[in-house]
């Protein structure tokens, strides 16, 4: 089998990096990005300088500004970060069609296996992309090269916040052996705790155990642990088009809230975004999930489904409210609300001889069609379904 070459790009503190491109005066100064109007805002992203002072993502802004007094504060601009990510992706796409990326977070896996004749050796690709991105976009990503996503990811964690690392084929186990197990991706908190209890602190110590031995404490996860400890990872770099099985939107509240009307208004908005997306692609969803993240750090997920898929806001809204009802189990304020529509399939293009929809549904369909047209031309916020409360401020993101 041919050796694979996977490059991992990682822009540490992506939002901060983008803001520094926009305003070079922010460089080399501690920077915190968080909703500024809210009394109870939490940190969205922070620069390395602020991190060194103890600021962390999700920390109360009040506390963050106290421990990093000189930090400059900026409000998050997700659209800007998305734009920068798109530009980054565009450059990378010149080298390979196999790219796996997150949502505006500066992370990319690029499979450059077999592109030698076109673009030269993989290290050259890494260097070239970084040079281009640094010159044209002003951001400086870490790049690491390995024979799998696992190895390149671990290497990237190793050199963070800046740098590059190449793990030669065949050196994977040797590279991983002295590293702490916490650098391995995909391990749960309990697994890390267990490893610590057995005093298996390095990947090498873990690699010293056979599959059979690992089965004793880790059961069915033993194969995974064994493989990653040896640097074995066969998972493919999966492009977004091959993985998109869900429509996912999220609202982070600038000020956490436990006001039911406010949260329900947010759910209406998220449903309208998901509905519009589905209708645009002539898709329907059979299940809607609501993910609530509470201010105490816990989160609850509940879903509601129906037999027949739909992309009507009205149907999706009912499902979402039913899921919300079951997910919202305590009085603690909510930090964010996420809506996930899945079990998607194509809307049948064929019209029914005897339509199964009533007059009301057909009217709703027309109404939504008209709203979609207006939104496409003038923006999503221009028109929306009436609700008892206005939308809460916050950071809104949509992943499709």
């Amino acid at each position: 089998m041919k050796e694979r070459s996977v490059i991992h790009f990682n822009v540490a503190d992506f939002a901060v990096s983008v803001e520094r491109v926009v305003d070079s005066g922010l460089r080399a100064r501690p920077l915190i990005i968080a909703p500024l109007q809210a009394a109870r805002a939490v940190v969205y992203d922070m620069s390395e300088e602020a991190f060194r002072d103890g600021v962390r993502k999700g920390m109360a802004l009040r506390q963050a500004t106290k421990i990093c007094r000189g930090a400059t504060l900026l409000a998050p601009r997700p659209a800007l970060y998305q734009k920068a990510m798109t530009a980054f992706l565009k450059e990378v796409q010149n080298y390979s069609p196999l790219i796996e990326s997150g949502f505006a977070d500066g992370h990319l896996f690029v499979d450059v296996t077999g592109t030698h004749r076109l673009h030269g050796p993989p290290p050259d690709i890494g260097l070239r992309i970084r040079r281009y991105v640094r010159t044209h976009l002003g951001i400086n990503p870490i790049w690491t090269l390995g024979t799998s996503k696992l190895v390149s990811k671990v290497a990237s964690r190793l050199v963070k916040p800046v740098g590059e690392y190449i793990v030669s084929p065949g050196d994977e186990a040797l590279f991983l052996a002295p590293l702490p197990v916490a650098l391995l991706p995909g391990l749960t908190r309990q697994e890390l705790r267990k490893l610590e209890e057995f005093h298996l602190t390095t990947v090498g110590a873990l690699a010293g155990l056979s599959r059979q031995q690992l089965k004793v404490p880790f059961g069915s996860r033993s194969d995974y642990l064994h493989d990653i400890s040896q640097g074995i990872d066969d998972s493919a770099v999966s492009t977004s088009s091959s993985t998109t099985q869900t429509v996912d939107c999220e609202q982070s509240f600038a000020d956490d809230t436990n006001d039911r009307q406010e949260v329900e208004a947010v759910v209406v908005d998220l449903v309208s975004r998901a509905g519009q997306y589905l209708r645009a692609r002539r898709q329907v969803a059979r299940r809607v999930g609501v993910w609530l993240r509470y201010s105490d750090g816990s989160h609850v997920v509940r879903q509601a489904s129906r037999r027949v898929g739909s992309n009507s806001d009205f149907v999706l809204h009912n499902l979402a409210l039913s899921a919300l009802q079951r997910a919202w189990v305590k009085r603690t304020r909510l930090r964010s609300c996420r809506l996930v529509c899945d079990r998607l399939h194509k809307q049948s293009p064929q019209l029914l001889l005897f339509p199964d929809k009533g007059i009301k549904e057909r009217r709703q369909e027309k109404l939504l069609g008209a709203m979609d047209t207006i939104r496409n031309r003038f923006g999503h916020q221009l028109i929306r379904l009436g609700s008892r409360s206005s939308m809460a401020d916050g950071v809104r993101s949509t992943i499709h």
Partner: protein, 999 residues
């Protein structure tokens, strides 16, 4: 118009206003009286009656009664004594009955009650049963009200308008919403939205009701007629004594005499001597005169457990309070201290002039107390119940509950509440201002929603939240107890009456305090452990206060673990006094009270020969025994009698009023009389002022001499055992879950006593700690995470045969995962391991679990563990860190030794005596502290630290405290800098700076 249906804040989490506020409001509106009808209770009865009296209002007693199944509600108003009894029975039935049904409940208990109701079916039912019913149309005319009025007219039933109110005024709406949010576990926004649509009622003025009901003017007038029928103004039971059910029909007085003399002969020998006989005769006649004979006998029976053979055996007790001044009590074995030997005055306990019934308080070992209570409650089934506590919202609870209703996350709430002091004083400023000014909140920003939370929480403070059980008060009555007071069941299952201590006393119900005392358990366990030892004391003739070695222990303040004399303040005082005498200890345990610091210093000075004059020439030798200082509660009375011409009962009243919460008015009255009395005796005004100030130091808690003497006896017993049997004693202290200090501190003390701390070991450890000679072994009870069931199973299985190995242990004891981890980290399984590698032990446990899972399919075979892989042994730091997490202390070393590299140039605590008057730096582990308020109202703290060599006491004066309050947390290491000071041989460090010690 007479307000017939008004709820106070005793309608828990519903009403917002106190009976006092409601009475004030009713008076302002010009009502002639008020009916207080709280939901399913009479909690506020005594407060209501008192406030009606103060405001000149006519009280109507009543309560709302709800049906838990149908949620219907009626209001019962009391017409006469019988009606009151019936209401108590009804309320008891509502709380204790298995199937309470409003429709049938009134069949038995309707007499003497007027029932207000708005449910047709119930009205119909009650009318047929002959109950005196009234149709309740509520606070506003409504359509349903119109129909009810018409129906009532047709059926010849009177209709009335009622306030049906939860609030004294409309402005209480926010508090009402908050209470509902707390009660329903809802968010404040949700409740507010609901409340805006359906606002709770408030007590309006009579004219407003007349205006509202202008269409049906007869309704307001009818309220007056209904109120006129309810002329019962409150219970008047007199003094209700517990009934004694003797073995024969002998009168209680005679039985008491026989038992007292019999006990006296056991105590003093057959030849009693004149003083004993005289005192007994005097006491018995007073007891008989005041009707207290049966009370003494009932308490005696409680102290002496009745066995299955009918014979009584004495429990380990410590009679405390003023009852210890009674020779009869001593002879009945209710108390442990001879009142003749220690010159204790019987009149402090009982005198013919005393109008209120005194309590007899008995301490039992803390782990035996519940059995005693169960026995009493079952012996007097239906006639006995415990006294309750009305638990009010205090700042901490108010802030927590309000913040929850606002949805703030738990960690954020704890961040605020854990910084609040336990003692809290009310002042002019708002809660937010007061909290912001605390040193522990320095730099904390209370922006929204915290500002709103604190503003609302302030309104919640002082509102009752729930009922808890009084620590030990039991009431036993001759008639069924529910005929005096409604009874309900507390969370922990015992029956409780609906009144707290003061209400119980006001009603004349005599309570017996059955309290728990850990030190009695310590002494019991220690004596049990040393039984058979030649040096073990014989309890009958044991006089620990006469033992020279014990005296030395007390004089050196080496009394950590000893009952009542282990606190830093007490230990320092003993060091300064350096006497170790029983009489001095009695004084010391009484003189240490919050407001008496300057007298403590003066006491030490005088004890060491400093000159002193009596408080004034006229006082004579009244206070000579205590060096001219007022030390005991009765000193207040004695001075008042000697100088101001108070009678004994008046002086006793002055003493009592000092311990009351709402004393301001009454105290002012006593002050006036005291000053006038002294002036009449020509005492100098400056002297009077000084004496009054000294009397005011008895504000809050203080003790009488019999109580102090009784406790000092237990203190000496503990000190004796500590001195002569340190291993057994320290094991008993920790097994009984310590006292003033944490287990960590007691383990350190054991190490300082030269004892070796042995790890827990599943082959050796008991549930409790074991101590012998020069070692103590950790008990399973202190391995965090072990369930009681597992601990018992382990002991039971080991009793059958010793564990042969890990597989055997796992198989037979069936532990949970966290239990095995805790045992391994605590070292409890080291003995079953060949290598001592705890990582390997954990692996073998995982291996056992995996094998057990597979074995469930092939249960014929025993589990055989394969050898573990070669796992690295945890390094020492990791091992100790885990051990500390599981045990809360380290067996072999002090955590400060981890920081040894930081200790260069630091002084050790045991060397402080070589640095008197000098500034030093030393490392210390913070054990605990005590916040105090200076005379200027500033806050300072006394903190106890230790290093691996000794304990040391520190003082943080207000400026230093305010600078460092935010970093002070128990169980953390620090470097302290300060001045070593000496006062009468006791060393303290006055801290100037402190910083957290990091690795």
């Amino acid at each position: 118009m007479f307000p017939l249906r008004v709820r106070s804040y005793y309608s828990l989490l519903q009403g917002t206003s106190s009976p006092a506020t409601l009475c004030r409001q009713a008076k302002r509106y010009g009502y002639t009286g008020l009916a207080l009808t709280d939901r399913d209770n009479l909690y506020g009865l005594w407060s209501f009656l008192k406030n009606c009296k103060n405001e000149g209002l006519r009280p109507v007693i009543g309560a709302e009664i709800t049906d838990p199944a149908s949620k219907k509600c009626i209001t019962c108003l009391v017409r006469n004594r019988k009606g009151y009894s019936n209401l108590c029975f009804l309320l008891t039935e509502r709380h204790m009955g298995k199937k309470f049904n409003l429709a049938t409940a009134l069949q038995k208990y309707a007499e003497g009650l007027v029932v207000l109701c708005r449910d047709y079916q119930l009205l119909n039912n009650y009318s047929r049963q002959g109950v005196e019913v009234v149709a309740d149309l509520g606070s506003r005319p409504t359509e349903t009200g119109r129909l009810l009025r018409t129906w009532a007219k047709e059926n010849d039933i009177v209709s009335v308008a009622t306030p049906d109110s939860d609030m004294a005024e409309e402005g209480d709406f926010q508090l009402s919403c908050l209470l509902r949010a707390v009660g329903e576990g809802a968010t404040i926004s949700e409740v507010r939205r609901k409340g805006e649509n359906e606002k709770p009622g408030w007590l309006a003025g009579p004219q407003e009701y007349r205006d509202r009901f202008a269409v049906w003017p007869e309704l307001a007038a009818a309220t007056e007629r209904v109120a006129a029928r309810c002329c019962y103004t409150g219970p008047d039971f007199g003094v209700v004594m517990p009934p004694w059910r003797g073995d024969d029909d002998k009168p209680a007085g005679l039985a008491l005499r026989q038992k007292a003399f019999c006990g006296a002969r056991r105590r003093y020998g057959d030849d009693l001597g004149e003083p004993v006989v005289e005192r007994l005769e005097h006491e018995l006649s007073t007891i008989e005169l005041m009707g207290f004979s049966s009370y003494f006998l009932v308490v005696r029976d409680i102290v002496h457990r009745k066995g299955k053979d009918g014979r009584r055996t004495k429990r380990r007790i410590c009679g405390r309070g003023s009852a210890a001044a009674s020779l009869v009590a001593y002879c009945l074995d209710i108390t442990n201290i001879c009142p003749l030997k220690y010159n204790l005055y019987f009149e402090r306990f009982l005198n013919p002039g005393r109008s209120d019934p005194p309590d007899i308080d008995i301490d039992f070992s803390w782990d035996e107390r519940d059995d005693v209570l169960t026995e009493v409650l079952s012996d007097f089934n239906g006639h006995a119940a415990m006294v309750c506590n009305h638990v009010f919202f205090k700042p901490r609870m108010a802030i927590r509950e309000t913040a929850r209703a606002f949805g703030l996350p738990g960690y954020e709430i704890s961040e605020v509440t854990r910084r609040l002091p336990w003692v809290y004083k009310h002042g002019e400023e708002s809660l937010e201002q007061r909290i912001s000014s605390l040193a522990t909140f320095r730099g904390r920003d209370f922006s929204q929603p915290w500002l709103e939370v604190l503003t609302l929480a302030e309104k919640l403070i002082g509102v009752p939240r729930y009922l808890s059980v009084h620590p030990g008060g039991v009431v036993i009555t001759p008639e069924p107890i529910s005929s005096y007071v409604p009874v309900e069941r507390a969370q922990k299952g015992v029956p409780i009456i609906q009144w707290e201590k003061d209400g119980t006393e006001e009603a004349g119900l005599v309570k017996i305090d059955i309290l728990g005392n850990r030190s009695l358990g310590v002494i019991r366990d220690c004596l049990h452990a040393v039984a058979g030892n030649d040096k073990a004391p014989d309890e009958v003739s044991w006089q620990p206060e006469d033992d020279a070695a014990t005296k030395l222990t007390v004089a050196e303040g080496e009394t950590m673990g000893c009952f009542y004399i282990e606190s830093p303040a007490m230990r320092l005082l003993q060091k300064k006094a350096a006497s170790g005498d029983f009489e001095q200890l009695v004084i010391q345990s009484s003189i240490i009270r919050p407001a008496a610091n300057e007298f403590v210093r003066e006491y030490v000075r005088r004890l060491h020969g400093g000159s002193w004059q009596p408080l004034c020439a006229e006082i004579g030798d009244v206070l000579d025994e205590t060096y001219g200082l007022m030390v005991y509660q009765e000193d207040v009375s004695r001075v008042a009698v000697a100088l101001a011409g108070f009678s004994h009962s008046q002086a006793d009243g002055l003493r009592k009023v000092m311990s009351k919460k709402d004393k301001k008015l009454r105290l002012a009255n006593y002050r006036e009389r005291f000053f006038a009395g002294c002036a009449a005796c020509k005492v100098d005004l400056a002297d009077v002022e000084r004496m009054w100030q000294m009397m005011m130091s008895f504000d809050g808690y203080s003790f009488c001499k019999p109580h102090s003497a009784s406790y000092a006896r237990v203190s000496y017993q503990a000190a004796y055992l500590k001195r002569h049997f340190p291993a057994e004693f320290m094991a008993a202290v920790i097994s009984n879950q310590g006292g003033y200090y944490s287990i960590f501190a007691y383990v350190s003390e054991a190490k300082r006593l030269g004892l070796k701390i042995l790890h827990p070991d599943v082959r050796e450890s008991e549930i409790r700690w074991i101590g012998k000679e020069a070692w103590i072994r950790v008990g399973l009870q202190n391995v965090q995470g072990l369930s009681t069931v597992f601990q018992k199973r382990l002991i039971r299985e080991r009793g059958k045969r010793q564990f042969s190995g890990l597989e055997d242990f796992f198989t037979r004891t069936k532990p949970a995962d966290n239990e095995v981890c805790a045992l391994i980290h605590g070292g409890g399984l080291d003995g079953l391991s060949e290598t001592g590698n705890r990582s390997a032990l954990l692996w073998q446990w995982a291996s056992f679990q995996r094998a057990r899972k597979s074995a469930s399919h092939h249960s014929l075979f025993e589990v055989i563990l394969p050898p573990p892989p070669l796992l690295p042994i945890p390094d020492q730091r990791t091992r100790l860190r885990r051990e500390f997490r599981v045990l809360g202390f380290l067996c072999d070393m002090h955590p400060l030794q981890f920081f040894a590299h930081r200790g260069r140039g630091l002084v050790k605590a045991c060397d402080l005596s070589n640095h008197k008057g000098r500034r030093v730096e030393l490392a210390g582990w913070l054990l605990n502290g005590k916040l105090v308020s200076t005379s200027n109202g500033e806050v300072m703290e006394f903190l106890t630290f230790e290093d691996e060599t000794a304990l040391f006491e520190t003082t943080f004066f207000p400026d230093v405290y305010s600078r460092y309050a935010t970093i002070l947390t128990s169980g953390k290491p620090y470097i302290l800098g300060g001045l070593v000071e000496e006062d009468y041989g006791a060393l303290t460090l006055t801290v100037h700076g402190i910083q957290l010690l990091r690795r």
